[in-house]
Symmetry: C2
């Protein structure tokens, strides 16, 4: 399993646009084979800072996400709304290791 934690800093005047576009990305991403989670979080202390928690069964499934139509639409849609470049950090899973618990 692979979990990518994506840190996103959004321009103040596009926060609602970003939330809308990212929920659309969520709705399609969770249908991908190999997707385990796609959580959208907002920093409680910084309302312009978001986190995407993207869990996949394998490296291949995680990589395939970046070739999906919904990812490419999302990427291009939000491109002008970033306050600074996103940071995606890959993680292996220590626990739980059973995919049925994801």
């Amino acid at each position: 399993m692979i979990v990518t934690i994506v840190h996103v800093w959004v321009a103040e005047d596009h926060i609602q646009d970003f939330i809308h576009a990212t929920i659309e990305n969520h709705n399609e991403s969770v249908k991908e084979p190999g997707n385990l989670r796609f959580d959208i979080l907002r920093d409680a202390a910084d309302p312009a800072k978001f986190v995407l928690y993207e869990a996949y069964e394998s490296e291949e499934a995680s990589a395939a996400h970046k070739n999906t139509p919904h990812y490419l639409v999302w990427r291009d849609t939000v491109a002008g709304w970033m306050a600074k470049p996103r940071q995606g950090i890959k993680h292996t899973v220590v626990y739980p290791t059973d995919p049925s618990r994801w």
Copy 2:
């Protein structure tokens, strides 16, 4: 819902001890009322850097975790194994908002 993302930097010579103690904390934490997830991740590029993804149904349930016997044992057990202080960052949940999807 509240998700606390805890960033943990572990001393190289205590990584296996840390993993063992944190899986024990996981096993008890997921039994708490109001716990939704307690994932343990390891940075793919930095094997001494871990992330705990602690999701709770409410602020109260999240706060109650820090008074549980298993949390207090874990906190004291790992105290000497940190390479630098942990950072816990609280998040609200944008999506999915249905607790049954957690």
